[in-house]
Each structure stands twice: as C-alpha cells, then as structure tokens.
C-alpha cells in the first residue's frame, strides 16, 4: 500500500512542479462555456435550457487535453519500460497513475462547475445535481481517456486520434448526466440517472484498468 | 408483377437507396481484389527479374 501512496505522491509532485499547466484544461473549459451565452443568447430562460449539456460537453472536451502526460511522456523517457521491471504488478502502477490523473484533471472540473453553472443561470438545486453528476462522471472520463492514451501510445497523430476513440464511449454518460440536470430543473426526482451513472462508474473502475494494462503490454512488450 | 412504383413519387428514394448500396457493396468487394492483383503483378515482376539476373550470371 505504501508503494501505491508513494507513486501517487510522486505523480502529484511532478504535476505540481508546473502547476500552471494543470489549470490549462480549466481555462479551456471556462472559455468554451463562456462562448455559449455569446453564441446563443444571454437570456436566463434559454441558457438554463442548455446549461447541463454545455457544461458537460465542455468537461468532455477539457478532459481530452493534456493526455500525452498520462503515458506518452514516460514512454519517451523510458520510464514506462522500467514499470515492467518493478516489483509491483502493472495493475497497481496503472491504478496509481489513474488516481493521480483524476486528482489532477478530473477533480478541478468538479470544483469549477458551480461557477460555470452560475454563468449559465442554473438554479441552485440543478447546480448541485450537476456538480454531483460531474463528481461521479469525471472518474469515468479519466478512465476512458487513459485507455485511449494507452491505446494510442505508439500512434503517429495520437492527440487527434484519442478524441475520435473516446467520444463514442462518452455517449451514455452524456445522455444520463444531462438528463439528470434537466429533470431537476423540471422538479422531477433524478435518483435513477445518478444511480445509473454510479453503475457506469463501477463498471468502468473494474473493467478499464485491466484493459489499460493489456494495452500497455501490447505497446511495450511486442 | 407490380412495378408501378417505378414511376410513383417514391421512385427517386428507392432508386437512390439501391444505387448507393450497390456502389458501396461493389467498391468494398472490388478494392482488395484490385490491390492484390497489383501486388501479384509486382511479385511476378520481381520473380522474373531475379531469374533473368540469375541466368545472366551462369
């Protein structure tokens, strides 16, 4: 267990050495959300209508940024190869990397979402559900993005390819999350949507790390 | 035998649908055969050039 904590701490140490870079996805997300009132209309009624979808789509796009930091940098320096010589199993190393990646890129999105929801005139109860759905949804996004990063490790144009691979897999998450926000605006009960997102989270947490390990083995050990 | 749909108001949609399908189906089936034919051609060429070169030596 101490190895897991040490790995996560080292990853965070690396990330915070250049804290400025961490905020870049957040600036991007804030920018995308700020464009919608300019593009569509500043009226509260209309903005409320699209608020859930806009914040979620901006979050999905923001999660696609900076993905080369997940595996590609380590593969270039040769650190990823040393993972194979480590004492711990590949799964633990991948799990540590995923946790540190979520803390660095997923959690900030959840923390900034209330501000963005206010920009889009979202009522408070819908805002709470939005943040809750993001809290459950961002780990799934991090897992899917890490899988795409592992799959495109030896690809030529990895950045553009990753978004192409990940976007179709986001569809169920986007559907249930945005409908959760819309239903709360309409005053309905949204436990069903949030429970479904939690179910997707559990499915992702159990199935995706082994898939990432297989993908890394394909790229490192072939 | 009812073929009056051919000049009905839906004829355009049915014809385009079948034409597009045929085009995709033929393209998808023909591409590999043409590519393989070209590859076989240049393999034969390689083979013949090798035999000619061998004959010139001995």
């Amino acid at each position: 267990m101490s190895l897991f904590i040490h790995l996560v701490r080292t990853d965070l140490q690396i990330a915070f050495r250049h804290a400025g870079e961490l905020l870049q996805p957040l600036w991007f997300m804030a920018l995308v959300v700020a464009l919608f009132p300019l593009g569509i209309s500043p009226e509260a009624a209309e903005l409320r209508q699209i608020a859930g979808g806009v914040v979620w789509i901006a979050a999905l796009l923001a999660s696609l940024l900076g993905l080369e930091a997940v595996f590609a940098h380590d593969e270039k320096t040769g650190r990823l190869e040393q993972w194979l010589l480590a004492d711990a199993s590949m799964l633990t190393l991948v799990a540590a990397r995923l946790l540190s990646r979520w803390l660095v890129s997923g959690l900030p999105i959840v923390l900034i979402s209330p501000l963005l929801a206010i920009w889009l005139q979202l009522q408070t109860d819908a805002l709470v559900v939005l943040s809750l759905s993001l809290l459950l949804g961002t780990p799934i996004m991090t897992l899917l993005c890490a899988l795409a990063a592992a799959l495109t490790l030896s690809s030529r144009q990895a950045a553009t390819l990753m978004s192409l691979l990940v976007a179709p897999l986001y569809v169920p998450l986007l559907i249930f999350a945005t409908s959760a926000v819309k239903e709360t605006q309409a005053g309905a009960n949204v436990d069903m949507q949030l429970l479904l997102i939690t179910a997707m989270l559990v499915l992702a947490v159990t199935l995706i790390p082994p898939a990432i390990t297989v993908a890394l083995n394909i790229h490192l050990r072939e | 035998m009812n073929i009056e749909w051919m000049h009905g108001q839906h004829a355009y949609y049915i014809f385009t649908a079948y034409a597009l399908t045929l085009a995709i189906v033929v393209y998808c089936a023909l591409m590999p055969v043409l590519r393989r034919r070209a590859l076989m051609q240049n393999l034969r060429l390689q083979q013949r050039s090798k035999t000619v070169a061998a004959r010139r030596h001995d």
Binding site: S2, L3, H6, L7, T10, Q13, I14, R17, H18, D74, K76, T77, G78, R79, E81, Q82, W83, L84, L85, A86, D87, A88, L93, L220, R221, E222 | -
Partner: protein, 206 residues
C-alpha cells in the same frame, strides 16, 4: 545477493514479420560476464530487452533471476531531481523503507558513481553524460543478480568508463551476471568475459 542464473532456450524475435535473430540459446551462471557485439540492427538491444522481460520473444522461453536493465534512454523524469528519481525507482523495485533510510541508499549509490553533487539538480537540465551516470546509479539501489546494460559507455568520459568497469567486475565477483551490449569494448578491457557476436540477418524467415 540471491543466486544468479539465466537460461534462455532457442529464443527468436520477429519484427514486421522479419526475424531479427534466429533461435538463440544462452546459459549463464554466477560470475559470468557476456559482451554482445554485432553490427547495427543485429538485434543487440532487442536481445537485451527480451532477456530483461520487457520484450516478449516470438518463440522460446527464458528463466532468470531478478535483473536490472539500463538502456539507451535515461528513464528519468525531467521535472524531478536526480535523488527523487532514484527514490522512485528504489520504491518501485520493492524496498519499503522510511524516507531517510531510502535517501541514504540513494545518496550512497550516487556517491559510488561520483555524482553525489547532482543529487538536488533537476534531471531536466543535466548533460547526457550526467544523465547516463545517474541512470547507471540505479544498478546499485537494490541487489539484483543480473545487470543488463545497453551501451553503458556511451556519453561517459574516460574516468567514468574505468569506474563502470570496476563496478562491473566487483558485481560479477560477488556472484552476479553482467551482459553488456557495446561497440567500444575491446577484449583487453574485460579479459575474463565471454563474447557473443550477433550475425546481421537479412534473409527473411520462412
């Protein structure tokens, strides 16, 4: 140091469906030192990576005790200091010590390589030679019987090469195995080492 053994039976490797080297059998025991030589592309690095367990051979199997592998890449995170990089690898290779004991081992390893003064420098702004020496310091972190070194002498100055040779001899004397892929290594430098020359294969495997 646990007992050192390495036996690989008819391992071969194919890349782009062309075999890089044919069926190769290799058995080494304690105190053996093997120098791999051969033209570029003859598969020296591939063989080392297969022995290290990084690459999976197309056929054949390998049994060996724990190994260190130092390749061309320096495997260090540019945003971390040299000491932090070594701490990372010390933990990765299974040592669960408190912080100051771990740092003592890392500093000792760096001292052995005469790079102790680089400990707090960022790996990002080191020269190639310094990076190579701090990467080689990884070998001394925890006692693993087999050393697999790919071109260990590249970017090293005269003094460091002698230091490296001394450390290798000491490692083998203590019952370890060292396999070095290198061009510059003449026979004189390591008199008691075995030699393996990898032929350059260009005929495709059937």
């Amino acid at each position: 140091m646990p007992a050192a053994y390495l036996n690989a039976s008819n391992i071969s490797y194919e890349r782009h469906y062309e075999s890089v080297f044919g069926a190769l059998t290799l058995t080494l025991q304690a105190q053996d030192m093997l120098v791999l030589s051969g033209a570029n592309g003859s598969g020296k690095t591939t063989l080392l990576k297969i022995l290290a367990g990084i690459l999976r051979p197309t056929s054949g199997h390998i049994k060996l005790s724990a190994c260190h592998y130092v390749g061309h890449q320096h495997a260090q995170q540019p945003q971390l200091t040299v000491l932090e990089n070594l701490l990372y690898y010390l933990r990765l290779q299974g040592a669960s010590l408190n912080r100051c004991a771990a740092e003592a081992i890392c500093l000792q390893a760096l001292a052995d390589f005469k790079v102790a003064e680089l400990a707090t420098r960022m790996a990002g702004n080191l020269s190639a030679g310094q990076l190579k020496r701090s990467a080689l310091a990884r070998l001394l972190l925890c006692a693993r019987p087999i050393w697999l070194l790919d071109e260990p002498f590249v970017n090293l100055d005269k003094h460091s090469i002698n230091l490296m040779l001394k450390l290798m001899r000491r490692h083998c004397a203590q019952g370890g195995i060292a396999i070095i892929a290198s061009h510059e290594l003449g026979l004189a430098d390591l008199p008691d080492s075995r030699h393996l020359r990898l032929p350059l294969r260009n005929q495709p495997s059937d």
